[in-house]
């Protein structure tokens, strides 16, 4: 909404004095306000953000929000359907699994696991990706070739297959899932940062910073990097959803977080044998994955449209 009052106010001193001097002239919106206004134009993105906030809230406050403990077994109430289906029980809103654990509770704790994996993978791969990408762009020569060859190597193995290999070597666990998925997603950040850094390095403002005596580290981190951020942020946001999908796939194959951790992929795998008798146990964890991934993707698309007009989807 362009008429959003926030987008019209400016906190810069120049803006205030200008607005004071000539009332008719509106101060330019701050970066953040402009971004927010542009972001809000995209209804889907706002919806995604709202959903995502809800999921994050539930995940962070899982202990308080969820009715039970994720590992507590109610042996008298196994494989209950959700409450709106015949045979449902008001004490277990979304039913229970084969061991009598409350599905709603496990889904809530599953959100925590999935978001934790997604965010950790994103943060670690962005940090390493920025370091390697900037190093490749700044140093060039042998370092550049070496880094990019290794990234090509990673890219040549299909993502999930590489993750499977890594988990097979390190053993299945939550931590190793994160390691494996990070390795899979690293090349895209390295390539992105390197490419945008290289294109920025040729610009005049970089040359002038260099002439002014900026050292290589300062040049890369303080001068070049901020100008590569927009595509990086977009990629990172979308990367979270892909990491969640990838981790859930590993969990489904039995190579992710191990029981009794409530992980959505593993919950699905456990429920496979009840596909005929108790379809609800199968349906809900997958739905949770889908909704989370869609809301992150919607949010990411909105970020892209707002941050990076060049990438704007037509």
């Amino acid at each position: 909404m362009a008429s959003d009052p926030h987008s019209q106010t400016s906190t810069s001193a120049a803006g205030i004095s200008a607005a004071g001097a000539v009332e008719a002239v509106q101060a330019p919106p701050t970066l953040l306000a402009a971004f927010w206004a542009s972001f809000c134009e995209n209804r889907g993105a706002v919806m995604g953000l709202a959903l995502l906030s809800l999921i994050v809230f539930v995940a962070v406050f899982a202990e308080w929000v969820s009715p039970y403990s994720p590992v507590e077994q109610f042996r008298d109430f196994t494989k209950l359907p959700p409450v709106w289906v015949e045979g449902g029980n008001w004490h277990y809103l979304l039913g229970t699994d084969a061991l009598g654990r409350d599905t709603l509770t496990r889904l809530i704790f599953g959100a925590r696991v999935s978001l934790f994996i997604g965010l950790t993978v994103m943060v670690v791969s962005v940090i390493i990706g920025v370091a390697l990408g900037l190093a490749a762009a700044a140093l060039g020569g042998l370092v550049d070739v070496m880094i990019m060859r290794v990234m090509d190597l990673i890219l040549s193995v299909p993502g999930l297959v590489l993750a499977i290999l890594i988990v097979a070597v390190l053993g299945p666990s939550l931590t190793n899932t994160i390691v494996a998925v990070t390795a899979v997603f690293l090349p895209r950040y390295v390539r992105l940062v390197r490419a945008s850094a290289l294109s920025e390095l040729g610009r005049d403002y970089v040359t002038s910073a260099r002439v002014a005596g900026a050292g290589p580290l300062r040049l890369m981190v303080l001068t070049v990097l901020p100008n590569c951020l927009a595509p990086l942020i977009v990629q990172a946001a979308l990367g979270v959803s892909e990491a969640i999908l990838e981790a859930a796939a590993l969990g489904f194959l039995g190579l992710g977080a191990q029981p009794p951790v409530a992980e959505w992929g593993a919950m699905l795998a456990d429920s496979r044998e009840f596909i005929r008798s108790n379809p609800w146990i199968v349906t809900l964890p997958g739905l949770a994955i889908l909704v989370t991934v869609i809301s992150i993707n919607l949010f990411g698309d909105g970020l892209r449209d707002a941050l990076d007009p060049k990438l704007k989807r037509s």
Partner: protein, 337 residues
Amino acid sequence: MLRFLLKRLALTIPTFVALMFVTFVAIRMVPGDPVEVRTGERGISPERLAQFRHEMGLDQPVWKQFVDYAWGLLHGDFGTSVVTNERVLTEFLQLFPATLELAFFGMVFAILIGIPAGVIAALKRGSIFDQTLMGLSLTGFSMPIFWWGLLLIMLVSERLGWTPVSGRIDLIKFYFEPVTGFMLIDSLLSDQAGAFKSALHHLMLPMIVLGTVPLATLARMTRSSMLEVLSEDYVRTAYAKGLSPFRVIGLHALRNALIPVVTIIGLQVGSLMAGAVLTETIFSWPGVGKWLIESIGRRDYPALQGGILLISSIVIVVNLTVDMLYGFINPRIRHGQ
């Protein structure tokens, strides 16, 4: 052009050598003794153990093992499965047609629906159809396909009883020796009534599941590429010349819009192979993906190592081919290099 090809080819070789090295090292870091898998958990005499180690080359220094391994690879020896005692390459080649068939039809499904849908969405930009398609495409793109597969089994196989749950063909009713390895062709060749229909029925769900993500990607790509092309000057010129919309869109716009789409199709090979691992696991489809997962469970590391190397080699070769084809299709790349 030739220089471009040679350069691309030269870059592939170090990648391949590094891949060999990485799989070799990785598999040696795996916990668990391969000799123990082969001999069973019960202890055997130290002499037999030494003999096994010698047979498997495990008494050699590691660098020698790698050189032997690389030498073997160059001669098509991808090792021997410690479980079935069969050559990994032989096993892989037996199973690969099943994966290829699945991946091929998954891609055909995605192309046949995705490209026309994307074109129509671009032409009717902003319409209900466009919005619905973009919503569906987002959903497809975000789909955990292992859940999608289970959901389809629940609805189509269990509830409606339309398709079988697993396998490539009804093995109780039909048996024939594989000729090509592609079930659809073999079932036709077998001359058994109903065999082809059974094979087709078995293929439907896995094909849809594997094709869903590429379908969503293709529809999105085609739409945006088409929108871009439609605003180009030459399209306006074509309209101005009085050509029929059909001709303008089919001949002028579509041909150019499809150039990036073709590349996307080629680059999907890697994700198709990854998707095949999940799809095959869900539908008990006897291909290399399911085999790979099972070899982890059986601690059959030579099979895992060989399988990953072979799958990656296929992806590398296909991506290389796509790059080259792209050079041929797109003159800007051909002359730019």
